[in-house]
């Protein structure tokens, strides 16, 4: 038989449980806009009577109320891991896209002033010298144009080089961020597993850890495995980054200048054993791609333009004679005098306009060599053609990257919307729940009142007949 007062305890348990429900709703509403917050739900379990029967004692009454079993964190692990993958890819594509965007700004083609026009001006300048071989003004103008073209190539290279430098510094700070985030995950692992072991709530800390994991995914495209004991292990390119409460750090190695990249590529390595680490996606992945492929490729193509310009012009120029009757002069030279002509070192080697070799016969005002130089712009594999093919290559790459980034952004946004829909707080729902809890609370209070009244009858009004 159940105790006389068991109804009171049932009502009390209901009051507790519904209060808990209202508190949880309060927490949900309070965090409706908190980044990374996962909605929580009170898991209520009916409290039954004694399940094991004993001699002379058997429970035949109803259950004895309700208890709060757990406060559940309603987040879908599968969606979460999809979200991390998509975000990793999204940052990768986005970083690449903005890098291409900046590189396109360097060349600012097509325009009336950029490199292609500077080359066209140079050829036209030779045309003017061919018309007036004896005119110092035309020669002076040509020298200026040649200097502008050489400056244009050097500026292009130095802009690429400074982009590379920025990306290199960025890579350093990204690696630091990865190490810090990994440390944070390890720390949270420790706290969460302790809380779990002692049965304390850890929902908010798990939210924090999910945020850190998302950061790691955006940085380096990590993969994640959740363990039963509350640990979450993080893997970078198949190797452990965070294992339980310990972290392995990574570092970035390689040249610090674009010129050194060829011999000493920029790469990730594990600090503990020095083995190479790999980050296929995330901003670090994009950064490494930028540092090792995109910028060096373009710099190489720009070098080819510079080399072609110098070779083609010098070959013809050496054959001609200046106004002073001297031939075998180079028009474009390596201004550093060390590495040979590249886009970084190309410069005009002639300072005296009369040294420009317009004539193919010494001591005359012949302009045929200048005319031949002016025609170099039409070469099918000359500097102009090389530059054009570089620009079109850059355009195609940039366009592809933009499209990929666009598609990936749509996918990622959809995935985010799904994640928010799954784990986010719906105020309507919370209000509905709130009403439910409130009504149940009121009902439990009413139950208590009626038991109280019943007991009142029993205690105060029973056995007073005839009094």
């Amino acid at each position: 038989m159940s105790s006389t007062f068991s109804g009171l305890s049932t009502a009390l348990s209901a009051l507790y449980a519904q209060r808990h429900g209202m508190d949880t709703t309060g927490q949900n509403v309070a965090n409706a806009n908190t980044e990374g917050y996962t909605r929580q739900r009170v898991d209520m379990v009916p409290r039954g009577g004694a399940e094991v029967s004993a001699i002379h004692a058997k429970w035949d009454g109803p259950g004895v109320g309700v208890r709060v079993d757990d406060i559940k964190r309603l987040r879908d692990g599968f969606l979460e891991s999809r979200g991390r993958e998509e975000h990793a890819m999204n940052t990768f594509q986005n970083t690449k896209m903005s890098a291409y965007n900046r590189i396109e700004n360097v060349f600012s083609e097509p325009s009336d002033t950029a490199m292609a026009s500077q080359l066209a001006d140079l050829w036209a300048g030779w045309g003017d010298v061919a018309n007036r071989p004896g005119d110092t003004a035309a020669r002076e103008q040509l020298l200026q144009r040649a200097a502008v073209a050489a400056d244009g190539l050097r500026d292009g290279f130095s802009a690429l080089s400074s982009q590379w430098g920025t990306a290199r510094v960025q890579a350093d700070s990204l690696v630091t961020e990865i190490n810090n985030a990994a440390d944070a995950v390890a720390k949270l692992n420790e706290v969460i597993s302790q809380a779990q072991a002692s049965g304390m709530p850890s929902n908010e800390m798990r939210d924090q850890r999910d945020l850190r994991l998302m950061d790691l995914a955006k940085l380096a495209g990590v993969s994640v495995v959740h363990r039963e004991n509350g640990y979450t292990d993080v893997f970078l390119g198949g190797s452990t980054l965070v294992g339980g409460t310990t972290t392995r750090h990574i570092e970035i190695l390689g040249g610090n200048r674009l010129e050194d990249q060829g011999a000493d590529p920029v790469r990730l390595a594990w600090t503990d054993n020095g083995l190479p680490a790999s980050a296929g996606s995330g901003s670090v992945g994009a950064n490494l791609d930028l540092l090792n492929n995109i910028v060096p490729d373009l710099a190489g193509k720009l070098d080819a333009v510079a080399v072609s310009l110098a070779t083609e012009v010098n070959n013809v120029h050496r054959a001609g004679f200046g106004l002073d009757g001297v031939n075998n002069r180079d028009m474009f030279v390596d201004i550093t005098g060390v590495t040979g002509i590249t886009a970084r070192t190309i410069g005009v080697g002639i300072t005296d306009p009369t040294h420009l070799a317009a004539s193919s016969v010494a001591g005359t005002l012949d302009g045929s060599n200048a005319a031949a130089l002016g025609n170099l712009g039409r070469l099918t594999n000359g500097p102009d053609a090389k530059y054009r093919s570089m620009v079109v290559g850059l355009g195609v790459e940039a366009q592809t990257s933009q499209r990929r980034a666009g598609i990936q952004a749509t996918i990622t946004n959809d995935m985010d919307a799904l994640r928010f829909a799954d784990a986010g707080v719906n105020l309507d729902e919370e209000m509905t729940n709130l009403i439910g809890y409130q009504k149940a609370y009121e009902a439990a209070a009413r139950l208590m009142t009626s038991i109280d009244e019943a007991l009142d009858v029993l205690i105060n009004r029973t056995g007073i007949v005839g009094r």
Partner: protein, 302 residues
Amino acid sequence: MMIRSTQQSIAARVTNNLQGNLTRLGRLENMLSSGKSITRPSDSPTGAVSALQLRSQIRSQEQYVRNGDDGVGWLGTLDTTMTSSLSHIRRARDLVLTGRTASMSGSATAREAIAVEVENIRDALIDLANTTYLDRPVFGGTTTGGLAYTPAGGYAGVPTGPGATVDRTIGEGTSVRVDVTGPEVFGVNGSGTQLFEVLTAIATNMRAGDAVALGTDLGNIDTAMENLQTQLANVGSKYNRVEQMRQSVSDRTLSLRTQLSDVEDIDLPKTIMEVQLQQTAYQAALSTTARVIQPSLVDFLR
């Protein structure tokens, strides 16, 4: 299954859509304000490369026009100079005819007068032969000096030969010679028919009254005159050729500019239309968003 939706997920979707709308609007407005549909290679890689090619072609066509202008200058100067030389030579020939009769009967004074006039004509012709275009003697070939002929009538320019001609490139692969050298026009020194030498001989023979020699001179001067006329015709036809080429290059430049504009300029009415549409879409999105996001159950609970 009912798809769950939360305020956050709605906000995320709405933000993305508004962002997309605004980006498209920004892109269109950028096109409209710059007037270009291609402002960076990635806008259209093929378009960008055509734009680059067209620009460089336009630039070289412009240079051809400049070259043509210069060529026309040379040929025009040659044409006028040679035409006026011709009238001087005709006068000299007349004088020879007069002098030949005078040498039989006329007085030494009269012959002397004719001889002096012939010498003057010779000097005037030498001056003409030293005519310059932009400080270069037009009959001197590629000479660096300022004179094609010495005051005595000797050729001071560069003899005709490979690498000694003045050429102008007036079209793709089309190069035209825009000069004639003194020896080609006035005859080679020492050949007997060199104009200035002939005139000197005439003056000498006139003073001597040598009618037979004057007869030979008359033949020589005719040869020189014919030669000059041939060269004049040559210069005239080249002038026409360069002039025509220049015209056609100008036309080609115009057509290249049109092509360039087709490639990289926007279609104004179409773009304005698109901007309007996009603006409407953006405003509609904004106003719907304002209405959708606002209400929640909270508004309706007591």
